[in-house]
Symmetry: C2
Subunit: 200 residues, 2 copies
């Protein structure tokens, strides 16, 4: 397999788990928080701040703005710097060879850099996602789970739209989208893995 696979996903749709297992089956690296750590190292920013800027726009609005206010740094410039360092790292990782990259607009970053990738979006119905989120967070509070799903999706949506100018979740931005609720994780992993192999 000589493909780079990017995975975008709704919160609780299993994108992380599916991406990780696709990478394992294909014997290639899987990048998620590694990108954050690399960004932090390269940019000198606090890792927690970079992670929140990564996709959680609502957190950025509080953390980043307060830091910028205290340190008299321009908020927009700081956002741009973090995003640009992340972009450079994504491109560098992709240039090293086949891999699976999760989130962070990697699909659009690679497209802009002229690097071919198989771009996948994973989504699921609310029931399947709620069960998964409950499992991940240990919470049984339905209202809390619902609020968390809406907040996370909204952040990813805003982040994608802001940096790509495209609509997050529109099928035409991806080469393949899969409903992990209907298809199940194992079938999603099989479909992505075999598609990547068939494209060699």
């Amino acid at each position: 397999m000589n493909k780079i696979i990017t995975i975008s996903r709704e919160y609780g749709a299993g994108g992380h788990s599916i991406g990780l297992q696709v990478a394992e089956k294909l014997g290639v690296p899987f990048y998620d928080h590694d990108i954050v750590r690399e960004t932090a190292k390269a940019s000198g920013f606090d890792p927690e701040l970079v992670e929140s800027e990564g996709e959680d726009v609502s957190r950025t609005d509080s953390i980043l703005k307060s830091i910028c206010a205290v340190s008299s740094v321009n908020y927009k410039d700081t956002q741009e710097t973090i995003h640009n360092v992340q972009k450079a790292i994504i491109v560098r990782l992709a240039q090293q060879g086949p891999c699976v990259i999760l989130g962070r607009c990697a699909d659009e970053v690679l497209r802009e850099a002229g690097i071919e990738s198989l771009n996948v979006f994973i989504h699921a119905d609310d029931v399947h996602r709620a069960v998964r989120v409950s499992e991940m967070t240990g919470s049984n509070n339905a209202t809390e789970i619902q609020r968390l799903m809406a907040k996370k999706d909204n952040s990813r949506h805003n982040y994608y739209n802001r940096y790509t100018g495209k609509k997050w979740g529109d099928s035409r931005n991806y080469h393949m989208t899969l409903d992990s609720g209907m298809l199940g994780y194992d079938l999603c992993i099989k479909i992505i893995t075999e598609t990547a192999q068939a494209m060699d």
Copy 2:
């Protein structure tokens, strides 16, 4: 394979050809214009009129309105009648057993009727679609091809939105969406066929 597969598609993305070959591989019937003919027979409407009402909303606006004006029939009622007859036929065909149904909001019609189906959307970039449309129509006029693609997509978009209240092409309305330009028709056929078989 005991699945019903519905295929929605952008114009020129090869949805018809892909759907037909999936049906052949699975040994199940493929329904497209058959639905139109059945609707016509069942409703007493002119087949050409039913076909235009099927998905081409802009044609309907001229043909249907003029017929309704001449015959003093209510335009909206006529639209609804044709759509309802089509819905009933789609449900009846699905109840007969596994099959592939192209277009006509079959995904939503079956969802409403409580009949499980694998819902697929096929799209492609403009270059791949233009080449396909040129091949289908025999035209080499780029402006004409561009206009035709926009018109057909717009009609399908409007038809889907009008009858489902959902956004045509949004990945979250389908279990799987595929970019036939990037993946190629053969790989799309393989993915859909194997997914349907794996879900048995």
